[in-house]
């Protein structure tokens, strides 16, 4: 087993490291913590933060790559997540099958024990394979699995929360029931812990049910080549998260530097930078992406030898897509930063610093930069959901991520033609849309809370 570090993995870990550094830094500075206290005090903020973290955990697990049989070129690149869900990945059927079905979608010629050949729906290899007569037993089996999964999840929750509630009860001298009520329902203090715990509980129970069901059935059916759709949807999380975050991250240094340079120095520097971003933003985004991806395809076709494994090739294309998306979207941030810097440079404390003889670079880094960071943060959070949605659209135009890579866009793109079939194949679409909707909705709601917390006009993040 050899660990593999793809480019996007590296950038993701750099991003996580950056967030960790920021948290460590913010812990000791009260003015940095204040807006986050507002976020923590909001029920919506806490609930969506839990959901987003669940996505992030899966995405990070899926970013720890390794090659199981040493570093041979032909070896598949797997991730820790693949290893954890092992069965789900290996349970391949022949072709489509509906969610929870025990039979294949298409009829086949099956040889009966007495030698005759019948056209019938063959049983699935994995879905409902443990049942002898699925028609009668399936309902009971599904109910049993739901019960088992939910029961196990509730036991886990009890093991986590009962000791906590017991300690609270003993500390405050109240009954155990009152302590539980305080944990899950009634909010005490500034932080919206009940929203956190409730969302956590819902998440754990649904995860338990899904795990119990996925062990015996294809919860979201299988796709054209028989791969489990639930597995694909989970694998797509990493792609969605990377597109949503890395895109803003890769062009962030350029946007920051150019934005505050243009705003602070004005004159010909300002003219030049304005010219640069007006030119870039005047090219329609989709066309620029299309042109760049076309060029990448030509380049990859010419230099096929340089991309030894499928995973590396797909990864490079993902990274390239992030960069191109970044190039088309950094101009808005740059314009915002320039405007804010124009305002800041006239404030008294910046003038005082200049009067004391502090040099330009020092003013920029000590006085301007910390005061525009809230704009950067808000725009990162606000852009995220739009980028996740854009990925699906780009995949439809064939200029998205590599077709071999798991992504919601690719799932939708390959499934939409199957809607014409009878009976229709709807489950790939449904799975992709549901996973995308939950992520984007959580991100949108979270972004609203963050924006409220940082918006100086509302004066909220001060309490």
């Amino acid at each position: 087993m050899t660990p593999v570090l793809l480019w996007t993995d590296l950038l993701l870990f750099v991003l996580l490291g950056g967030i960790a550094l920021f948290v460590w830094h913010a812990r000791r500075h009260d003015h940095l913590r204040r807006p986050w206290r507002y976020v923590a005090g909001s029920r919506v903020g806490m609930a969506t933060a839990v959901i987003l973290s669940a996505y992030v955990v899966i995405g990070v697990l899926d970013s720890l790559h390794f090659q199981p049989h040493g570093g041979k070129a032909s070896d598949d690149v797997l991730s820790l997540f693949d290893w954890l869900v092992g069965d789900l990945r290996e349970h391949q059927e022949k072709t489509y099958s509906a969610p929870f079905s025990a039979w294949l979608y298409a009829k086949e010629s099956i040889e009966q024990p007495d030698g005759t050949i019948v056209r019938a729906y063959p049983r699935l290899r994995w879905g409902g394979a443990a049942l002898r007569d699925p028609r009668r037993e399936r309902g009971a089996d599904i109910a049993r699995r739901v019960g088992l999964g939910a029961g196990a999840a509730l036991l886990l929750l009890a093991a986590l929360y009962l000791p906590l509630a017991w300690r609270i009860a003993r500390r405050d001298g109240v009954s155990l029931g009152a302590a539980l009520h305080g944990l899950f329902i009634r909010r005490r203090g500034r932080v919206a812990w009940p929203a956190f715990h409730l969302t956590m509980a819902v998440l754990v129970v649904s995860a338990g049910v899904l795990i119990a069901l996925a062990a015996g059935y294809h919860v979201f059916g299988t796709d054209k080549v028989g791969e489990d759709v639930f597995y694909q949807a989970l694998k797509s999380i990493r792609t969605g998260l990377l597109i949503g975050t890395l895109t803003t991250l890769v062009m962030l240094p350029a946007a920051l530097l150019l934005g505050i340079l243009a705003g602070y120095y004005r004159g010909w520097i300002d003219d030049l930078i304005q010219y640069l971003y007006t030119t870039l933003s005047s090219i329609p985004g989709v066309l620029l992406i299309a042109a760049a991806i076309l060029m990448l395809q030509v380049y990859m076709a010419e230099h096929a030898a340089e991309f030894d494994s499928l995973a590396r090739r797909a990864d490079l294309r993902l990274l390239f897509l992030c960069v191109i998306l970044g190039i088309t979207s950094w101009t808005t941030l740059c314009r915002l930063l320039r405007g804010e810097t124009l305002k800041l440079r006239e404030l008294e404390y910046v003038q005082a610093a200049r009067a004391f003889g502090v040099r330009g670079p020092a003013i920029l880094s000590r006085h301007i930069l910390p005061n525009v960071m809230h704009i950067v943060l808000i725009s990162i959070v606000l852009d995220f959901s739009g980028l996740v949605l854009a990925e699906a659209v780009l995949a439809y135009v064939n200029i998205g991520v590599d077709p071999t890579m798991n992504s919601w866009g690719n799932m939708i793109n390959s499934a939409r033609l199957e809607l014409a079939r009878e009976p229709i194949v709807w489950w790939s679409l449904a799975a992709a849309f549901v996973f995308m909707f939950v992520l984007v909705l959580a991100a949108n709601l979270f972004a609203d809370v963050v924006r409220d917390a940082f918006d100086p006009r509302l004066g909220r993040g001060r309490g």
């Binding site: 010219y275 030119t279 005047s282 989709v286 066309l287 076309l294 959901s385």
Partner: protein, 325 residues
């Protein structure tokens, strides 16, 4: 006013030159014409003669920027840059890689694009403003709260879902309208209904939320409080003062996208099989027709800059406080 417009139009020229250089670098410097020829001719059994024949046919066999073999002005004009990129400035798009006249195609295909984009914009605007005004009128009530929740949920749904869902529900289950296709003249209306409905619905979420914010911002201003203190009724206040003042940012936001309307919507057009400029672009991307993509990039940039100029002009027309300098 006129002087301002002329100055802005002149200012657009360096930007368009920049756009041209970027596309030129993307299409000809990073990838040599040889690569493009090989892509079009396929990878197998390609002789050097076939490649040079393809390059000659499409005019890609000339030097990039400077032709040393010609004299005088010809040294600059008989190059790939001049023949393929510079002449875009005269809106002379030339021939596509498959030999069709791009300018003619664009002129023909802009009408279906407009036939979808204009109704979508107008109906969407009317619905969004009405809904947003209603939420602002009932602000801080349950109606407002759930309205915003629904708007955020609608924003979070992929536009692909609206398209596929609309086609499935109206086209396949209810058989009300054809799923996709197009017809000439007035017979096209039944093909236009579904794309327009889908376009309007997919825009409601973000539109209502944005307009509601604009209305609320206006309601919070001092003159509204003064008007209310004078005893003005809530309805009259909303329609006579708030709506009229909030229309300024709404209108200018619409003006900026007006020129881009005729570029069409890539997604809607190709899903519904409408022969507009959006599906033209997608087809070109899929067929890897560089000449068309290049022309559309240029055209899109021109339209974007036109939109910016129109926005500034419209500001002075609707808001007497703004003076162009």
């Amino acid at each position: 006013m006129m002087a301002y417009i002329v100055r802005r139009a002149l200012y657009a020229i360096p930007i368009l030159i920049g756009v041209n250089i970027i596309t030129f670098v993307l299409f000809f410097v990073l990838n040599s014409p040889d690569d493009m020829a090989r892509l079009h001719l396929g990878t197998k059994h390609v002789t050097p003669e076939a490649i040079s024949a393809w390059k000659h046919e499409h005019g890609y066999d000339k030097p990039l920027l400077f032709n040393a073999r010609r004299d005088g002005i010809e040294a600059l004009t008989d190059t790939i840059f001049f023949r393929n990129s510079a002449r875009l400035f005269a809106f002379d798009f030339g021939l596509s890689d498959s030999g069709r006249d791009i300018g003619h195609d664009i002129a023909q295909r802009m009408w279906p694009s407009l036939a979808i984009a204009v109704p979508t914009l107008l109906v969407g605007l009317a619905i969004n403003i009405t809904l947003a005004l209603m939420l602002a009128l009932f602000r801080a009530t349950y109606l407002d709260f759930w309205g915003v929740v629904i708007a955020v949920a609608m924003m979070s749904i992929s536009s692909l879902f609206y398209i596929i869902g609309g086609q499935f529900l109206l086209g396949k289950l209810l058989h009300l309208v054809p799923i996709s296709g197009y017809d000439t003249g007035a017979a096209a209306w039944k093909f236009l209904v579904l794309p327009v409905i889908v376009g309007v619905i997919s825009g409601i979420g973000s539109g209502v939320r944005w307009y509601r914010t604009l209305f609320l911002e206006e309601i919070g201003k001092d003159y509204v409080r003064t008007a209310r203190a004078k005893g003005l009724g809530e309805m009259r206040l909303m329609f006579a003062h708030v709506l009229r003042n909030a229309l300024i940012p709404i209108l200018t936001g619409v003006v900026v996208i007006l020129p881009l309307l005729f570029m069409g919507s890539l997604l809607v057009e190709s899903f519904f099989g409408i022969p507009g400029l959006g599906s033209y672009t997608i087809d070109a991307i899929n067929r890897q027709d560089f000449a068309i993509v290049r022309s559309m990039v240029f055209l899109g940039s021109v339209m974007y800059i036109l939109g910016l100029i129109l926005t500034d002009v419209s500001y002075t027309l609707v808001d007497p406080r703004v003076r162009l300098s």
